[in-house]
Symmetry: D2
Subunit: 338 residues, 4 copies
């Protein structure tokens, strides 16, 4: 039997959620909550069978509603999530999850306690490119992951309320958390404002991991060229993921170096073995990421399992963003994570 879902927020992203959930056979888009009369009217026209309301409580008080989709400004996420969970609703909330990591943690615990499904919308995780990369990482094809280096730069719209890290990094950090199970032990972040804004418009993030892996992120609103490129260096294979490549977004290189364990003298002689083989650009699934994500959320409710992009992953992302802010605030000092 199909689940009943209600959507709150029919602004920039809400219509995308409405479209994808309404097309999904596993649910009925029963209610849309929107306070702007103009947008409420647009919702009514597009979804004549849905009830449109300006009262969030109408969703919470409706016992036939199974889940709530939250697409409102980030400053409201914590409150709306909390109330929905307390009302016994499963929750699907836009990224960024919350304003502070502490709020995210509280929501994860609340969902656990109430045995409810909590998902954070990190759409990139459901693209054919990222799913394929994860398969290769998880299967061990790449060997040990040594580093992840990501560049996300362009001449971007300055945000009036957040810096370039909060604007651009959530994409890359959610992908990082999806690919790598361990969490970083330290974060160093460097940024610059150039007097153009009170917030950083260029930033670099450096993370270190217990395993020795490092991750580095370069974000900018001030680049003359647009780049979206992540390199994942494994001991066996390496991947270059270029999201702007129209044809071959993912390239898997059979390239690497190796050294025999304990061979310290060899190291001194630079006796590292190189391997340079074929490159493969796999055919990628082109289905719409958001449709797959909606499907995963609904199935997770039915199957009583965690969704792929669950609150825990959202919390891991928030902790890294929090650490980055603290390092920026202390002028690039290394911040240790618990």
């Amino acid at each position: 039997m199909a689940l009943n879902v209600g959507l709150v927020g029919y602004g920039y992203w809400g219509p995308n959620l409405a479209r994808n959930f309404s097309l999904n056979k596993g649910c009925v888009l029963a209610t849309i909550c929107e306070m702007s009369p103009k947008r409420a009217q647009q919702a009514k026209t597009a979804y004549p069978n849905a009830k449109v309301t300006e009262r969030y409580d109408d969703l919470l008080e409706d016992s036939s509603l199974d889940a709530v989709l939250i697409a409102t400004p980030v400053s409201t996420h914590y409150e709306l999530c909390r109330r929905a969970l307390e009302a016994g609703k499963h929750v699907f909330v836009e990224k960024p999850f919350t304003q502070f990591a502490g709020q995210a943690e509280e929501l994860v615990n609340l969902a656990d306690k109430k045995k409810l499904t909590l998902a954070v919308d990190h759409t990139f995780l459901f693209t054919g490119a990222v799913r394929r990369i994860r398969d290769d990482v998880k299967s061990g094809n790449l060997g040990d992951i040594l580093y992840i280096d990501s560049v996300r730069i362009n001449l971007g719209l300055f945000q009036s309320d957040v810096n370039v890290i909060y604007d651009l990094a959530p994409h890359d950090i959610s992908i990082l958390c999806y690919l790598i199970d361990e969490d970083p032990v330290s974060i160093s972040a460097h940024g610059a404002t150039f007097g153009l804004s009170e917030f950083e418009s260029v930033a670099y993030l450096h993370l270190t991991y217990p395993s020795g892996m490092v991750a580095h992120f370069h974000m900018s609103w001030l680049s003359p060229v647009k780049l979206r490129r992540t390199i994942i260096g494994g001991s066996q294979k390496m991947i270059v993921y270029d999201d702007l490549d129209q044809f071959d977004k993912v390239k898997i290189y059979d390239k690497g170096v190796s050294v025999k364990a304990g061979d310290i003298e060899a190291l001194r002689q630079a006796l590292v073995d190189y391997r340079s083989g074929d490159m493969v650009a796999p055919h990628l699934d082109r289905r719409e990421a958001l449709a797959l994500e909606a499907d995963d959320f609904l199935s997770a409710i039915v199957e009583k399992r965690a969704p792929i992009s669950d609150g825990r992953l959202g919390l891991r992302v928030m902790r890294i963003l929090d650490g980055a802010q603290r390092s920026i605030a202390s002028d690039g000092r290394k911040v240790t994570l618990p």
Copy 2:
């Protein structure tokens, strides 16, 4: 009248110096000093009119010799330079200038005292690409320089005696020092060895400047793809310099953002002006960089002026490399420069 020059070291780079100086009408390649009998024989065959010797003192004691070109291993640079300067010879020495910044400083002072010309071979400064970029920076075409971001990565040969910074960064740092007159106030460097070597094989360098400019360098021996790309962000225009582009190495973008001075409220409203205009890839001079560099060194001697790549520039490069090493050694802590 042509100057007489002597070359010490006929190994990897020495033959390039011999060829370019021997073709220059401003000098005569009079003597070549090389200790390996095999290489000495090669030098004799290639330059039958030059005297070939294994004694460095033969160069220093020859009063007809005006200048010495030093193309020996870096550990010998300081000693060979010092002795040549003390013997009254002008000096052209391979990069890296010396092992330590203190040695470089001593040599610069010695050359000053003896009124001799001292040049460090940073060949990249003489390429058509870098000369064109410098023209644009110096003419003010780019406006204020906000940042320089450089990536120099590939699957590289691990060095047995230095880390990836000493191997790859001198190119980018000499270009940086050539473009920008001010010196950095702090350096943070992060690196990783991945157990593959005792030295870092991946490294990131972050420099801050009194003007607010920042510079960032990414170097790696562990990338599946080769990249050589520098972005120079100005307040008026921005440049992308891709040294691997066979046709258009330098692209100048009429792109930027601006904000009125003191317009703090505007900042809060994100009222930044964007400008997106034409891109120009200028035709570049394709003459051989090393030939131009030889010419500059010889002219500088005759004209009693500093060469473009003089000891001072070499010293500025060494101070940044020194700072990077100290930051790496203290686990990424920010190192303040005097």
Copy 3:
């Protein structure tokens, strides 16, 4: 006062016309004619203020209607255009204009006689890229145009009723006719079916012009890579137009060769002068092409001038397509055009 327009055909392309004309302040989308009940219902929902009918005569008999937009299958174009013109309506018709050049000629003459505006929808002519290229050609910046070479290939959908020329060439040929005023004197066309279809899936077209200019087109449904690239070689400058380049679609090269008139002996000695200067990728207007095209059609009616993509240009395109078909049918023989 706004013009009243009626649209016939609400299938694949019709909704795009409806959207662009309905947003244009110069007209009112008064009527939509569509025979499929399902699509008629979609039209009614999207344009509640428009009258929706299944009778084409409702448009022709409505004396308040100034113009008819035709977005039906090509086999119906001639008949629907003719009847609209005879009913005194201005006409905007989808490409390809008609099935045969003779039909196109008849319609152009009819519009002339009735003093009505007749436009053929060649949307590409209104892109920022093509408008910029035309400016350069018309201003004489490129010098004499020597050749145009166009490649439009990909792994394409085989059409059941036309060959690859009719499917892909109209884009390139309409651009050619827009850039170049003269018409070709001969056409040679080569094609191959590979037993995959009764129609050609790969084709090459070669056109010669009175001025000595040549044009060449390569079209394919069987290429593993997608290419959309036109080179325009002028005696002064040359342009490369790559429609798949996300950032710099048009590149203008200050490159060329020249030879002094009458210098026959010089020719024998290959004394051709080369010039290799800057490349400029101009900033292009990014407004939607179809919106500009709608605007041009409506203004042309009001100003009683020919629209940019008028029936004459449509006829020139049809004559080239006709010639190509005749050459293909005679196994590549050169077909002379009047």
Copy 4:
């Protein structure tokens, strides 16, 4: 026991032959014939153990000499080859083989009669890229070869004695003949001079084959951009060979279309199956092509087998060039080959 070889012509290409054959353990470079005193002196300096002469007869009369390498202007090839073969020497001759196909045929027959090895230097056939492509074609990996499309254009040096076809096409045509065993049945060639030269500076070549395969070549000295790209379309897989790609010259696409035999009704319905799979850029052998070619020639003599680039392949290339000239001369008329 090593073969003795003599070289005639120490101009532009001769030194490359001298270097590669002198480094080969299978032969001794015994004699060099060069008429220019200056070049003869250069040969003497570089190969002090070789005899240097200005008389070609010194090579032919030397009974210890097994083979002659010919690197003289093309107008002398026929005569020098013929005399060497008549003197009982194996022959390795620069491309283009001869001036006319008839001469090439005579030389092939003469070598057969004398049981001597005759090779034409088509160096491209020995590159890692072309050898890899041939492996895929010959193994059947690509399925049936449907078409070959090759583009070789740049702003090139106008030749004073030949058109762009003779200058640029031999590379592509020798590759074509190496990949495909069948010979074309017809050639159509179109060219244009633009008044810049008495010879064509832009040309297009269209070849048809008994199997239905087509081959098309675009050559130009008048392109603002340099392109070296060949697409090989197979019924199973397709290859793009971009000789200017520094990293992935060969890309093999698992893409194609297929249709069931005899399924005529399906054709009318456009029921063609598409397949879009992975792309593989294989690691290529980077050994120097000319060294491998020298090795193949010497081994062929010893093993009494035909070399890879034998006179027969050279003759096939000449026949296509001849046909192209005849088609150009008759204004693009299709020329039938025997």
